[in-house]
């Protein structure tokens, strides 16, 4: 190896080495004998939920005659559009898109459809209509969470809402779902709402600050994802307020299920990553094989997880 690189500019040899490394990593995905290839671009493989959807796709694909080419858009819609363009150039049989943004990821759908390649959107929507959509209605998740808070507080109390990254589809829908449901319960009053950008540490700081202002008046916290719910929970526990305050969040990630099991977190709302991942690959295969799908909108329902039914969800992991 060394001999070939002698005399090369060090930067060039570094580049060659990293290319060799990249090909080495890629060989696993290049399996022979798989008749169909589906290009998959995911919102962000740094998010546990998205990773779970991806894992479900891979698991389902391994049982079927299909090869998945999975790439990470790293929350960048522009990058996602480029990834779809290169899928088109490589001539994949179908594309599964886990959109970064409602508007900005739309060109990806348009280009694929123009090239005659079927597109399935998974988990969230784009403005342009794909051949099929497999996901959940995010408003429903917030409705379930707020209804549970109403039940726990007897319909009366002061609520704090921790929002996701402002402007993302999930935040917009979870906020509107929550506000619509809160309107049905006039006894529930929102003391404050604020974004913690889906982040556990940020939610913990925010909750610490809120405890300083609202202290004993807080009855419940609704966090738009589990990471933030767990951060709030920790701040409340440190301030000795947890016995008094109910915390409900969304996604049912592993840590949150553990916290529900320990009766620290009051509830989480399960978003079915397995159902979505599997459904997306099924829809893509149906489009490849028959050119159509039974339903263009497959909605996977959300489910409330409390200490009573948490074991069933822990076992799924």
């Amino acid at each position: 190896m060394r001999k070939y690189f002698n005399g090369l500019h060090p930067a060039a040899s570094l580049l060659l080495l990293s290319l060799a490394f990249a090909f080495g990593c890629n060989t696993k995905a290049r399996q022979a004998g798989k008749p169909y290839r589906i290009g998959v671009t995911m919102l962000s493989l740094q998010s546990e939920f998205v990773v779970n959807v991806k894992d479900a796709m891979e698991k389902y694909a391994s049982n079927d005659s299909v090869e998945l080419l999975i790439v990470d858009a790293e929350r960048n819609a522009d990058k996602q559009v480029q990834q779809v363009e290169s899928f088109i150039a490589r001539g994949v049989d179908a594309i599964i898109l886990n959109p970064c943004e409602v508007e900005a990821s739309s060109p990806a759908v348009d280009r694929a459809r123009k090239a005659g390649i079927p597109v399935v959107n998974v988990n969230s929507e784009t403005k342009s209509t794909p051949d099929a959509f497999v996901g959940s209605n995010d408003e429903e998740s917030a409705e379930i969470a707020i209804e549970h808070i109403a039940k726990l507080t007897g319909g009366n109390g002061n609520v704090l809402m921790i929002e996701g990254y402002i402007g993302q589809a999930a935040q917009i829908k979870r906020t509107s779902g929550a506000e619509r449901t809160l309107a049905k319960h006039p006894g529930l009053k929102v003391l404050a709402k604020q974004s913690a950008e889906w982040d556990r540490a940020k939610a913990m700081s925010l909750m610490e600050n809120w405890i300083q202002v609202h202290g004993d008046r807080i009855d419940a916290v609704f966090a738009q994802n589990d990471e933030m719910g767990l951060g709030a929970l920790q701040a409340l526990e440190q301030a000795g307020l947890k016995n008094k305050v109910k915390v409900v969040s969304i996604d049912a990630i592993r840590d949150a299920l553990g916290a529900v099991k320990e009766k620290r977190l009051d509830a989480t709302v399960y978003q079915d990553a397995q159902g979505q991942g599997q459904g997306a690959v099924q829809a893509a295969l149906a489009l490849i094989r028959t050119g159509k799908v039974e339903k263009t909108q497959v909605l996977i329902p959300f489910q409330l997880v409390t200490s009573e039914n948490v074991d069933a969800y822990l076992n799924r992991r």
Binding site: Q46, Q194, M204, G258
Partner: protein, 313 residues
Amino acid sequence: MKEANIGKERFYRRYGVLLSFIIIFSVLALTTPGFLSLSNLTTVLRQISINGILAVGVTFVIITGGIDLSLGSTVALAGVTAALFARQGGDALALPLIAGITTGLVVGLVNGLIVTRGKVAPFIVTLGMMTILRGTALVVSDGRPVSNLSNAFNAIGGGDLMGIPIPILVFLAVVVVSHVILDRTVIGRYVYATGGNEKAAYASGVDTDRVKMFVYVICGAFAGLAGIVLASRINTGQPNAGVSFELDAIAAAVIGGTNLSGGIGKVTGTVLGVLIIGIINNGLDLLNVTSYYQQIIKGVIIIGAVLIDRNKR
């Protein structure tokens, strides 16, 4: 006349930041209910300790005229590494601490080596390291938070000693050690000399490469420490934690009077910069300012604080 000017300049270099801090603190104290309470001020101190540790570390690097953009990713990688060791035993403490700090040290060593031996601009080196380390944190943790950590480890972020939260004590220790190094030791003088005029320092016998190695290693080690404090504060090692932490740390150092072109900067100034950012974050939450405006206000105050500092000179 000239002497009077120098005196004046020194006065503002020393007290300009303090003035900004006092103004912002007073405004918040007067307008924000609950801001002045002891428990709120303790909360602020606990929240700033992570940014504080990072900002003091990066102050060393900036004084030599360098920069470290890999801080946030180092925090994530060190946090994940420490967490992986902290979940193995019931009261694992020493091993995760060593693992986290060593991670930071090694990162600093690599940064320093490429900057000095490879003669690559620090901005480029640490920009590259930023994504390399983020990727490594994701690989090591398999893209998921590392949880179920030992109680002893979680106590670093959540516990206290004689009524003072441990993160604050860690931050204080970092401040004292760094202040002594920069202000009272030969290596401290070399750090300023390297940043002030590298060629002159080299000509007068300072091994400027070794000085640079030293600042990246100490900055990396502090970032490792910050990663430990963060992971233990949120009871998990998060591979996606710490995104853009480097910006807050650099902002704090600059607000505190550290000059990005090197040669000038003080630990006490950086501490004031950290406090300014901390009370703004806290105050805006207490006032329930929406996140849209929070971002605008923070930016304006950062520029404003630096303007007050510079213009008065």
